[in-house]
């Protein structure tokens, strides 16, 4: 039943992240910075190189899912209401994917266990 819950590192069915998974993880990280998210910070959070994150953020801004603000210290990003709507739908959909795709469930289960020791 329980699909993986680690969006920034894995796709909905446990494999590589799809573009949708990537956009969702970027938006989730952007949301945490309350409108003051800089591209370098977002790249560390999403686990992606800065140039790729910048391209994705530009696309998210064009689609109205994120908003860019140019200030003295560079450009910062925020999630929009439409971006939040996207995230809510994305997580619900992942829940259905976990329910309907038993292979993703099995893969999710094998990833269980204690979190890896960071040391």
């Amino acid at each position: 039943m329980f699909a993986d819950i680690d969006p920034p590192r894995q796709g909905a069915t446990g494999g590589r992240r799809s573009p949708i998974d990537i956009f969702a993880s970027i938006l989730e990280v952007t949301k945490r910075y309350g409108g003051e998210g800089r591209v370098t910070r977002i790249s560390y959070g999403a686990g992606m190189p800065v140039d790729r994150v910048r391209t994705c953020l530009r696309r998210l801004s064009d689609l109205g899912l994120a908003r860019a603000t140019r200030g003295e210290e560079g450009t910062t990003y925020a999630i929009t209401a439409r971006g939040q709507e996207f995230l809510d739908t994305y997580w619900r959909m992942r829940s259905f994917v976990g329910l309907l795709d038993p292979s993703s469930e099995r893969r999710g289960r094998t990833r269980e266990g204690p979190p890896p020791d960071p040391r």
Partner: protein, 384 residues
Amino acid sequence: MSDVTVPRGGRIRAGTIPGDLVVERGATVDAEGPAGVNVSGNAEFRGNAVVNGPFQCARLALRDGSVRVSGNLAVGGDIEGRKSKLDVAGNLVARHVDVDRELTVRGTARGSAFEVGGFFHGGSGVEADSVQVGATFDALGKTRVGRVSVGGRANLDACELGELDVGGGALLSEGVVGGLINLGGGGKGGSLRAGGRLRVGGDLEFEEIAVGGTVDLAGNASGDRLEVGGSVRVQGFLRLQDQIRAGGSVSVSAELAARSVEIGGSLEARRAELREKAEVGGRVITEAGLRASSIELGRHAIARGALIADRVEIGGRSNAEGIFAGIAIVGSHCRVGRIVADEVEVGSGSEVGQVQYVRTLKLGRKVSMAQPAVKVERRPAPPP
């Protein structure tokens, strides 16, 4: 005041430095004694560096590198790490900690605020007013934080939090959260207590959840026990080993399975199967019926969908579609569509559409029936 600079790849042995310290890339700072290195001014590390022993300074800046401190790290003011990692083998104390890439504290981390762009690993406890992490927050030991906000995933051992907001998923062994728990992607938990609201965007697995306010789950949920002061809304299925106790209403879009339920308000589910007792104060609305060992509905209850149990008892002035039971006890002034039971008792003033009974039928005064009661050899099977 005399400032000290450790050149690129250099090494110094120091005790007290009565000024600022600048450490260039690849340098090593060794503590002279067990008291460690005490910098009365600010310290700046420009690249990778190692500090062997405890380290103290007024303010700490890290640039473009990874700094490892093998003892405790005590900073009077802030820590600022641009494009840096900080790894502290002992305890960390600072005011505001802002590290871009990764912060690892193997001992206890104490500060007013921790902001980490990538990963924050807490080895044996984190105490702060707020923790904000971009990717993953792992904390062993006790986490006492006012507000935790994580973009990716949170793995917390035991926590006492004011509020928890996780974009991805969360693994919580045991926790008390004063306010809101918001898990965007879903979560796994041991024993969770929240004073406010629990909102989960994905699936949830837990042992025991006690929430003062409301529970809103966008996915499926399974666990042991759920106690909620307010209402529960689950958009998938809800499967519990033990019971649900809710002060308000419980709404489950798919099936509900548990040992028993005790619900002050209404119960809505596509299908509800309980191994023992169902006690509902308000309405019961199911598509495929409510099945339990015993069902007890309060006065003025409304039941849409069949009530199927060994014993069904509905309070006075209630309205039920169909009862399939060993013993059916209907209060006074009720309206019931169909009763199928071994033993039937209907209170005075009630209206019943159809009664099929096996052993006994007791009717109060002025009970009206659309069709005459029928005594049958065996109870007809309830709807599937």
